[in-house]
């Protein structure tokens, strides 16, 4: 049963251009130049109940903007979306009661207060019945192993611990849909690992529908089967992780171990990645692999050969880079100074 339905969702911002120099700034007092930035260009997606989907994409791809539209925080320029039957940007109370958004490195807890006070406020705001609330809070705190920390002021906690508090806050009202925007960004390896473990466990047990954005491969590998690759505001790929290599991996990595030494003319058959003694690693176009293998095995004495897929990061980076530009700004434009919705 589809919980999230997105159809041709798009968002364009007007960004004011700041020009260099004093004279231009004075002119800017009277007339401002602007350009349009297409953050999201027609995204369509369906997510079923209980699925864990990752949005993978480089910075500026439109992942966070999409999540914000689904959270009702940003109004789309065009397109439709429905989450649990509600239109997010209508911001109905009933909808807001049923989902949660967690943003990496952004804190919604009161900075100077112990987390437990913020939890209590959360209970009041969401109208959670006291006994149920106590039970939920207890479970979550135990699962994340932060019992000793909830009475400390949030500003005294480490980044990882703060993130855990944010997760608890988000889950206290037992949302059916969870949006996670780069939850592991900036965290150390240990913290990243424990948060991933928690998310996996929680999602499986509670059958929560989760949308996670990240640019860390490890998040995706650990947590979900379904990956949506977004770049420059568009979906480039939607499917399993393994399938990416199949669809986009244009190369293979071939390693030859010769019985005597590496041969120079073999090296010319592809891009040399490394050459140590008798071992030669080449990157070869997928279509050419069989041909090269045949030739080399026939011509030389080869002790061992292996054919591998390129590392996933590389493939994905290639996918990002291959995304078509919008009709608008080039990559090298300066960062926007301020932006106002059109």
């Amino acid at each position: 049963m589809a919980v999230i339905k997105i159809q041709d969702l798009a968002k364009t911002y007007r960004v004011y251009q700041k020009r260099e120099g004093l004279a231009a700034s004075v002119r800017g007092l009277f007339r401002r130049q602007h350009r349009m930035v297409e953050a999201v260009r027609g995204i369509s997606l369906t997510v079923d109940e209980g699925q864990f989907v990752a949005f993978l994409g480089p910075n500026g791809a439109g992942k966070t903007t999409t999540l914000k539209m689904l959270s009702g925080v940003v109004n789309p320029t065009s397109g439709t979306a429905e989450v649990m039957g509600y239109v997010p940007w209508e911001r109905q109370h009933a909808y807001r009661r049923r989902f949660a958004l967690v943003m990496g490195q952004k804190n919604q807890l009161w900075w100077d207060l112990p987390a437990v006070e913020s939890f209590r406020l959360h209970q009041q705001i969401y109208g959670i019945e006291p006994t149920a609330f106590a039970r939920t809070q207890g479970e979550l705190v135990e699962l994340l192993d932060i019992g000793s920390l909830i009475h400390q002021p949030v500003r005294e906690l480490s980044l990882g611990e703060r993130m855990k508090m944010e997760l608890v806050t988000a889950l206290l009202h037992r949302p059916k849909v969870l949006f996670l925007d780069e939850p592991t960004i900036g965290l150390d390896v240990v913290a990243q690992h424990s948060i991933r473990a928690f998310l996996k466990d929680y999602q499986t047990k509670q059958r929560v529908t989760v949308l996670l954005t990240s640019h860390y491969m490890k998040d995706v590998l650990a947590l979900c089967e379904r990956v949506v690759v977004i770049a420059k505001g568009q979906i480039m790929y939607d499917g399993s992780l393994a399938g990416i290599t199949g669809k986009f991996g244009g190369h293979k990595i071939v390693t030859f171990k010769f019985s005597d030494k590496a041969h120079a003319d073999v090296a010319s058959r592809g891009e040399v990645l490394s050459c140590e003694g008798p071992r030669l690693r080449l990157r070869i176009d997928r279509a050419a692999v069989t041909g090269v293998l045949g030739d080399v095995l026939a011509a030389y004495d080869v002790e061992d050969v292996s054919v591998e897929d390129p590392p996933l990061e590389e493939v994905i980076a290639e996918v990002f880079a291959s995304a078509p530009n919008a009709g608008g700004p080039a990559e090298s434009d300066p960062a926007p100074v301020e932006a106002v919705e059109r």
């Binding site: 966070t64 940003v74 207060l113 406020l121 109208g127």
Partner: protein, 280 residues
């Protein structure tokens, strides 16, 4: 484990419950920085004392200011302190933060809560130290009544708090509208500055706004942006009862409060629509 979800629209009780929790949280937080708290209390009092000294000095040279004699003027000042104290304790912290959140595009978390956004944004921060102004105002009120030999009628005593709250409501509306406009105008002047300018005008009796300079101010700030009503109306009830034309002004003040609240709500909702959170 399934949990029944409370789908009913959040009622008054839930909002009050949230407010109570915020009051408590604000107190906990202020007590964490006791030194700061104390300093703020002391500086508030110092400013008030200095202002009082100024007027004591002025009253050496004159019997009244625009018809307000010494002790009625003190009552006027006291009313100003009550209104200001309430504003700065319960309202300004939230609205100043609102202004910052809009500027930084960080209003997101508040927008996602299943509770009225205007309510949350206005009242979820509390600065207890500013209550000092309120209590000093109460003291000055008592002193002014006592020394001036005024015994307020039960009627005045009943109506005075209502009009003090109306004054707070009017100033609240002005500040919310000012904060909301920063959605459309890029960065505004710091909201604290605007508050300063509002208090500059609202803290004097209507009567001084005369002549070619004062009349337009009096009219503008009584009928267009009625900040002059905030302190003047309640103060008159207490200090100068039985004045003619007072009832007309009082009824008007009530009406103005209502109109302001409705208009503010309308502008706020519009501003939220125009709000765009900061780019990722």
């Amino acid at each position: 484990m399934m949990q029944a979800i409370d789908d009913s629209d959040p009622g008054v009780r839930r909002h009050l419950g949230v407010w109570r929790t915020c009051l408590g949280n604000g107190l906990i937080r202020d007590m964490m920085f006791r030194g700061n708290f104390l300093i703020e209390c002391i500086t508030s009092m110092a400013w008030i004392v200095m202002n009082l000294c100024f007027y004591l000095l002025i009253f050496q040279f004159t019997q009244n200011i625009a018809g307000w004699e010494k002790y009625p003027y003190f009552i006027f000042l006291a009313t100003g302190m009550l209104v200001n104290g309430l504003m700065q304790t319960f309202v300004m912290p939230g609205i100043e933060e609102f202004s910052e959140l809009i500027r930084r595009g960080n209003l997101d978390f508040i927008l996602m809560k299943p509770i009225d956004t205007q309510f949350l944004v206005s009242f979820h921060r509390v600065k207890w130290a500013s209550l000092t102004t309120f209590f000093v105002g109460l003291g000055l009120l008592g002193y002014g009544l006592w020394q001036g030999g005024y015994v307020p009628t039960p009627w005045a005593v009943a109506i005075y708090p209502i009009y003090v709250l109306c004054g707070v409501a009017i100033l609240y509306c002005v500040m919310v509208v000012l904060a909301s406009t920063s959605v459309w105008m890029g960065r505004n002047q710091s909201l604290g500055d605007f508050w300063f300018y509002v208090t500059i005008f609202s803290r004097y009796p209507l009567e001084i706004y005369e002549g070619s300079l004062g009349q337009p101010i009096r009219v503008g700030f009584s009928f267009i942006v009625p900040i002059l009503l905030a302190v003047n109306v309640p103060a008159r009830f207490m200090a100068r009862p039985l004045q003619e034309g007072q009832w007309a002004l009082a009824v008007y003040a009530l009406g103005a409060t209502g109109v302001c609240l409705v208009l503010t709500r309308w502008i706020f909702v519009r501003a939220l629509r125009g709000y765009r959170s900061a780019s990722s």
